[in-house]
Amino acid sequence: MDHLFILGCSLILIGAVFAVLVKPIQLALRIYVGVMSAGLLFNLAFALVNLVHLPATPLLFPAFPVLSSFFRLDGLALFFLLIITSAAIPAILSTHSYLNQYLHKAAAVRAFLVSFSLVLLSTQLLVLANHAIVFLIFWELMTLMAYLGLLLEKEKPEIQKGSFIYFATTHFATFCLYIFFFLLHSQSGSWLFSDFQLTQTSGMVFYVAFFFGFVGFAIKAGFMPFHFWLPHAHSIAPTVLSAFLSAVIIKTGIYGIFRMLEFCSPLPLWIGAGILAISLFSAIFGVWYALAQHDIKKLLAYHSIENIGIIGIGIGLGCLGMTYSIQPLIWLGLGGALFHTFNHAIFKSLLFLGSGVIYSNLHTRNIELMGGIVKSAPWFVGLFLIGSVAISGLPPLNGFMSEFLIYRGFFESASIFGGYFPFFMLLMTVGLAFVGGLALACFTKINSIMFLGNERSPHLKFTVTGLDYLSLGLLAFVCLLFGIYPQIILGIISSVVAIFQSGESAQTFSTFAQWNFITGIFAAIILLISTLIIWKVSRTNQRKSAAWGCGYAGQTSRMQYTASSYADDINGIAVSVLHLKSKVKIPETIFPVTSRFHSHAGDFSEDGLVKPIYSWIIGKITSVDFLSRTDIRFYILFMLLTVLFYGGTAILWTYL
């Protein structure tokens, strides 16, 4: 079976080669998209076929025993491979139209294409790796190639800044992972994931290893307060890459956390509780920050943090289940987290790729300058809307289904645990509901401001290419399919989660809800909606008229409600927590003069944590000047002093 995968990977590499070698850039781009999507399709097929045949885990390169011991095709790896490929195919399809605006910079485009295909490749191999060093290699390669991908418009200062923050932060994460894997290695004496074991009996090592592993993966995943790189990187990346960054690359952090759970069983209680706390925090503040943004991509980036938080809540729940070996909780928590990981990859790709289409038409990311797009591209808006509904976790789309599993986990845990547990679980549930409310507010905001009403800045035309429709349509279809009929994927997930379930009674998804029932309801809702719409459209007595303006007819598009004012009510509650800053110039005379309002959302982690520490260290460094002597006599003096110092060390070493 593995020749499918080898074929896919080779096609991805061939795509990169074509991107470099084919002379006309237009043609190169076309061939690239074709070859790459073919390669990814092969890999998707590979993942699906193997997932269906779980729990059998075949070897990847059976012909080369050494190589095949470096990789492992277990359920978790294959599931993430599925996520990667299914998010990558639409991204690749969108590449064609998105890059059209940059074709005059052929070299930069080629560089981007090559790094993009290498990102795809290294991400796929990363999740299959079974060897810590191989994992680290692909981890760093992925970081590096994604960094190179960010440089498509490298002349812009904001891109230089954002990409640098991304690069530096992820490099830091890698250092944490070094420590993590070294500790694991020292515990087990092997580099293979399948041999790693981390038990609490090892004392200090357990805590240190867990701490560094979690920090390393959490930085990549974007848990608060390690998230500060994420809005920077996502907002400046070429949109197809933003989509992939958000949909897949930050998920490799989640993948790492899943692996970590596999290593550290049995889990102590504080791990689950800690993950729950940090995740809820990420979810709430992620979405709240998102609400304050005007930059569509930054906003989506903060939503990634929120969704990572939701995934984390699922994981935390699963950890509790693992601690007390409660099968349903493991299933609902980890299964919900996995499902949400998949779903987030789908709808976040949809939204990011959509924002890419907007950017290539309007050349702005500021939502306050958009509006009225629905009139020129209703189908496009419809697809984007599907993504928005899905990410808000509303039925009948897939976002709801995964949140549903996590909610079910909470309720389930309440009936199992006694004592204080129900209370805290209820608090978590309410927190999740609060997140849902905020997400709803946020996505009604962007959909309204970006698409509805009248154009704020006039644009000539809004073109969406066929390939864009194809990629967005595919994603929207998956959203709808897994919302209404999640049984397809839940079967797979239950066999994936089996890794984490000790004991024989691996439960299946059908135990926890009458899925067919839910499918029925959702289908009925859609049926009802469609019927009503058809009925309504068939009614003939309709007419158009100007909007009601309390008698004032001279409305302009600038009088529309703005994103800032829409979000003001909610953000006003937490100005200081959110580091919101606004500058207002109010007209004070009777006759109106120029007045303005400017608001900016900071970030507590960046402004309150990272920047102060960083500038403190840099300040200390640059104030060290005893070494910056130009006089050669000092060099000789240093030499003498060093000899004396070492001599003193020798004496101390001998006599102490």
């Binding site: 910056s628 130009t630 050669i632 006599r633 000789i636 003096l637 003498l640």
Partner: protein
Amino acid sequence: MENVLSILFCLTLLYLVVTSRIKTYVTILRIQGVLLSLIMIFPFLHHLSVHLLIIPIVSLIVKAIIIPRFVNKIVIDLDVKRIVEPSIQPFNFLLLSVFSMSVLFVSAHVLSGFTTIEPIPFASAFSAMIIGIFIIIFRKKLIIHVVGFLILENGILLFGTSLSAEMPTIVELGALLDIFVVVFLMGIVINRISSTFAQPDVTALGRLKD
């Protein structure tokens, strides 16, 4: 006898510390060269083989004749002021030198208690090294730095001869040649520096920094 010569050697060092005339520095280099050659000739007196005579003669030529002459030539060429401006008070310098020399002598004495060293040549050698370094550290003129370096080398040579270790002749000759070339090169560089910068001392060399 070696001890007497070593003590003489030390006395030249102290004179070096108190003097402020460049000409004296050159003279002392000469004297030290002669003293070292004398010390090195002792093995020959024991064995009486031509083989052992080569090194003292060559070092006499290099250390006592060629190098001082070369340094002297640079001094004249450069027309540097004869007076050395110290960056430390002469008295303090003397105090520091005497202090470090006494420390060295005492520790050499202590060490000779349980190892196989001869304390006086050992301590003299290290005094020469440390005073060579002090001269480099406390003087500004580059030519004086070269002299300081040579004093340091003389100390090392003394140290080498005080050990009974035998270097192959070729290696020893190579070492002498190397030192000569180093000094020669340094001379050329100083010449260049004096033609490029206003004055050949360390204050001119401050362009390379971070």
